[in-house]
């Protein structure tokens, strides 16, 4: 899922200076699962903003709403006829939702309440970590299913660098060296031979470096 984290409160307060009526818009998708931008977090943020404004003697009117997803035309259309009622919409979705709101409602101010952190897993309650960088050209068949792009600090393709020690990455003793993990896994699977091949220089054009990406499926279009 996409993992997000609420921005520091003062940063959000700074964005909303002068705004008197705001829709705080949650998303029941990924950011709700990672407790960053679902219904509950919308309610909390609304309270925080109202408390701040009350303290300053500049009250703000907050409306709260949470859509099934903010990355889908169908759900965002629910705001039609309503978007114009607010000075701004504060989206608690990932960056995708914020963008799509801005795309669909050209005359409404839109602000992000979250930092979109990464695509990752929920390891345990309250702990998330990155697994995929969305490079657009998956290499996991060659690396035992573990991604050197998302999980190696230097995005190495040909085995661990000289900074791999005791299974940890040189940048942080709390970060696992993914190449140690790949090595161990391929060894266990009897596939160490795979690591002898030189992995050729990657074509990054399928990643963000090739410009904004788009997929069109004629078989599904109406």
């Amino acid at each position: 899922m996409i993992v997000g984290q609420r921005k520091p409160i003062q940063e959000i307060i700074g964005m909303l200076k002068g705004i008197k009526k705001i829709l705080i818009l949650g998303c029941s998708g990924c950011v709700s699962v990672c407790s960053a931008g679902g219904e509950k977090e919308v309610e909390i943020l609304a309270l925080i903003l109202r408390i701040d404004r009350k303290k300053k003697g500049e009250p703000v009117e907050t409306m709260e709403k949470t859509l099934a997803r903010q990355c889908d035309t169908e759900y965002l259309e629910e705001l039609k006829g309503e978007a114009g009622n607010y000075d701004a919409i504060l989206s608690m979705a990932c960056g995708v939702g914020v963008n799509y709101l801005a795309d669909m409602y050209p005359t409404t101010l839109v602000f992000p309440a979250l930092n979109t952190s990464f695509m990752g897993v929920s390891e345990e309650q309250g702990v998330w970590s990155e697994r995929c960088a969305g490079c657009g050209d998956c290499v996991l068949d060659r690396t035992g299913g573990l991604c050197p792009i998302a999980r190696c600090s230097k995005r190495l393709f040909n085995g661990p660098c000289g900074g791999s020690q005791n299974g940890k990455c040189e940048i942080d003793p709390n970060v696992a060296c993914v190449w140690q993990l790949i090595y161990d896994r391929l060894k266990g699977l009897n596939q160490l031979e795979k690591l002898k091949e030189i992995f050729p220089i990657k074509d990054w054009s399928s990643s963000l470096h090739g410009g904004p990406r788009k997929i069109v499926r004629e078989d599904l279009k109406l």
Binding site: P160, S164, Y183, D184, I201
Partner: protein
């Protein structure tokens, strides 16, 4: 031998080679390079010029290499993948070759997290092995990375790589060197050797793969300048293995009211003498960064002088 490199000549002739290392200044003062160069002159066959080592902004390796050449020394220009994409690297290498640089050390580069610009983008368009492959293809196949023909004069570097026998997983370390050699490495300089037992075991694995016959292996050494430095290297530098024995020797010298720096030089000379005996070791790479003045003494005592050529 189309590089015309002195280092390549020495290694090919079967003589035990010596390289030094020079860290460019964090300013635009050419005199810093010249002063350090003069200390190393006559003691080494070539001098590595680091490419913003530890991700700290310094005078560029290529520019510093030009100044070094003006002093009559041969540079081993370093190129990392951290700061440049394939367009910039190839462009810089055409320039380096045109300026007369003959040796190129291909590195992935230290991560910038610990440098002085931790907020920078880490480029890492490729890794060191892919970099070797790219430069080898420019030289031998006369093609750019994209496949387009390189018309006219190609860069003709003697290609080097780094290897760390002390990193993990140990069993993969010799294999990784083998990959670098297949990719194009003709010589390799290792991480600092203090743990001779592990280095010997690594060399054994390297020989088992026959890699020592396909590239020249130079053992990295440095004199520990103080007890503090030895402790720092032991505890704070990832990928460095400094046995307690080294610290014990330095402390022994201090306690006997002897010169600790002198003992540091002794330790370095002892290591050189021991790696010389290991089959497949073709030279030493003395990295006395910010202690370049120790190199002549080390070279003399380790019986590495005079240098050929």
């Amino acid at each position: 031998m189309k590089s015309g490199s002195n280092l390549e000549k020495v290694l090919t002739s079967g003589q035990f080679a010596v390289t030094g290392e020079l860290g460019p200044p964090k300013n635009a003062d050419a005199e810093v390079i010249r002063t350090k160069a003069r200390l190393l002159k006559g003691c080494v066959d070539a001098v590595n010029i680091t490419d913003c080592q530890t991700a700290i902004v310094r005078m560029s390796s290529i520019a510093s290499s030009v100044i070094l050449m003006e002093e009559g020394l041969e540079p081993v220009t370093q190129m990392t993948c951290r700061d440049r994409n394939r367009i910039a690297i190839q462009s810089d290498l055409l320039g380096a070759s045109a300026l007369g640089m003959k040796n190129l050390l291909c590195l992935t580069g230290d991560h910038h997290k610990f440098g002085n610009h931790p907020n920078a983008v880490g480029v890492f368009d490729m890794d060191s092995i892919q970099l070797l492959q790219m430069v080898k293809n420019m030289r031998d196949e006369k093609v750019f990375q994209c496949g387009e023909e390189l018309k006219g004069t190609e860069p003709t570097f003697f290609l080097g790589a780094a290897a760390n026998p002390f990193a993990d997983p140990f069993e993969f370390r010799a294999l990784r060197l083998a990959k670098k050699v297949v990719a194009g490495a003709q010589f390799v300089q290792t991480q600092l050797v203090y743990n001779l037992e592990r280095f010997t075991a690594w060399m054994q694995a390297v020989r088992a793969l026959g890699v020592h016959e396909q590239c020249y292996i130079m053992a990295g050494v440095t004199p520990p300048k103080s007890i503090g430095m030895a402790k720092y290297m032991k505890n704070n530098v990832p990928g460095l293995d400094v046995p307690d024995e080294v610290i014990v020797r330095l402390k022994g010298a201090r306690d006997a009211k002897k010169d600790v720096q002198e003992e540091g030089i002794n330790i370095c000379v002892d290591i050189i003498n021991r790696v010389k005996e290991i089959e497949g070791v073709a030279g030493v790479h003395i990295m006395a960064i910010e202690w370049e003045s120790a190199v002549p003494e080390i070279a003399k005592r380790a019986d590495l002088l005079p240098r050929p050529g």
